[in-house]
C-alpha cells in the first residue's frame, strides 16, 4: 500500500516537473527578431535551382541583403522587380542578394521567379525554420548583414517599393557595405 502511495506521488511529481520543463523550453525558444548589431542567425538551406545548399557562414566577408518572400504574398510581387534592379546595381560592389522563399509551394515559387525575372540566389524555407530564427512577422521582410556577419541597418518590415522602406533599403545596403 505504501509502495502504491509513493509511486503515485512520484508520478505526480514527475508530471509537474515535465510540464514545467516544457513551459521553460517553450518560453526560451520563442522566436524573436535578431538584434541590430548582433550576429545574424546561422542557417543552411537548399537552393531553389537545385544546385545544392548554401550556408550563411560560407558568405562571411561579403555584404548580404537577405530578403524573405513568398509567391502567395501580394506586396512581394511589386517588390521583386525592384529587388532585381537593386541586385544588378549593387552586385558590382560585391553585395550578395539572398532570397528566402518562406512557407511556399515550390512550383509556385519557381513560376514567380521566372515571371519576375529574378536572377539572384533563392533558398527554400518551406518549413519556415529560417524565418523563425529571424523572428519573421510576415513577408516581405529584409535584413542586411555586414562582412563580419552582423545584422546592420534597419529591419525592413514591408516591400522596399514603399518610400519609407526604399530609403531604409538604400541605407541598409550602405551599412552592410561599409560597417
Amino acid at each position: 500500500m505504501r509502495t502504491l502511495k509513493l509511486t503515485g506521488q512520484f508520478v505526480a511529481l514527475a508530471a509537474v516537473v515535465g510540464l514545467l520543463a516544457l513551459l521553460v523550453w517553450r518560453l526560451t525558444h520563442q522566436s524573436h527578431a535578431p538584434k541590430i548589431g548582433g550576429p545574424a542567425p546561422a542557417f543552411t538551406a537548399k537552393r531553389m535551382d537545385g544546385g545544392g545548399t548554401v550556408a550563411l557562414a560560407s558568405l562571411r566577408g561579403k555584404p548580404i541583403v537577405l530578403n524573405f518572400w513568398a509567391s502567395w504574398c501580394d506586396p512581394c510581387k511589386s517588390e521583386a522587380p525592384a529587388l532585381e534592379r537593386a541586385f544588378q546595381r549593387y552586385r558590382k560592389q560585391g553585395v550578395v542578394f539572398l532570397g528566402i522563399d518562406y512557407h511556399d509551394v515550390t512550383g509556385d515559387a519557381r513560376t514567380f521567379l521566372s515571371h519576375h525575372g529574378v536572377t539572384y540566389t533563392t533558398l527554400l524555407d518551406g518549413s519556415g525554420a529560417i524565418g523563425d530564427r529571424y523572428g519573421l512577422s510576415g513577408v516581405p521582410e529584409t535584413y542586411f548583414i555586414d562582412r563580419k556577419g552582423r545584422i546592420v541597418g534597419d529591419h525592413i518590415l514591408g516591400p522596399i517599393t514603399i518610400a519609407k522602406w526604399a530609403n531604409a533599403f538604400a541605407q541598409g545596403v550602405q551599412a552592410a557595405l561599409h560597417s
Partner: protein, 152 residues
C-alpha cells in the same frame, strides 16, 4: 458499312477519353485532405483557413487529385515542401510515435492509480474496521437484536 465502322470508332474515342482520365484507385478528396493538412502560417487545418498560403496549398492539392495522386503521395509531397509540421497528426513511426502513445499511457496510468485508490479506500472501510456508531447503548442494542431475531 464504312459509315457504321466510323461511328463505332468515334464512339470508342468518345469513351476512351474519360476512361483514360479515370484513376486506377479511388480518388482522394480535397475535403479529406483539408482536415489532414495544416496551414503553415496560421497553424490551423486548411479547412479553417482562408490565408493566401492555405489557398495555394489547396490549389496544389486539387491539381494533384486531378492527376490521380493518392492522399499519401500528396501528403509526402507537402511534407517535402513544408516539413513534417504541415501534417495535422504526427506520423505513426519513429520518435513521433510518442505523440500517439504518451496520451494513451497517461490514461492507462491514471486509470491504474484511480483503481488503486478506490481499492485502497474500499479496503479501509471493509474488514477490521470498527462498526459505525448507532448512538444506542449496549443494552438497547441487545434488545433490538433480540426483537429482530424474533421477527426472522
Amino acid at each position: 458499312m464504312i459509315v457504321r465502322l466510323a461511328a463505332v470508332v468515334v464512339a470508342a474515342l468518345a469513351f476512351a477519353g474519360p476512361a483514360a482520365a479515370a484513376c486506377a484507385h479511388p480518388r482522394t478528396s480535397l475535403t479529406f485532405l483539408e482536415g489532414q493538412i495544416m496551414c503553415p502560417t496560421c497553424h490551423t487545418t486548411l479547412d479553417q483557413s482562408d490565408s493566401a498560403v492555405a489557398l495555394r496549398i489547396e490549389a496544389q492539392i486539387r491539381k494533384r487529385i486531378a492527376q490521380c495522386w493518392t492522399a499519401d503521395q500528396i501528403e509526402a509531397e507537402l511534407v517535402g515542401n513544408f516539413g513534417a509540421g504541415v501534417l495535422a497528426a504526427p506520423p505513426h513511426k519513429g520518435f513521433d510515435l510518442i505523440a500517439w502513445w504518451l496520451p494513451l499511457g497517461g490514461i492507462i496510468l491514471g486509470a491504474a492509480l484511480l483503481a488503486g485508490g478506490v481499492w485502497r479506500w474500499s479496503r479501509k472501510g471493509g474488514d477490521g474496521a470498527p462498526p459505525p456508531d448507532t448512538g444506542l447503548d449496549a443494552d438497547t442494542e441487545r434488545r433490538l437484536d433480540e426483537l429482530l431475531a424474533r421477527l426472522d
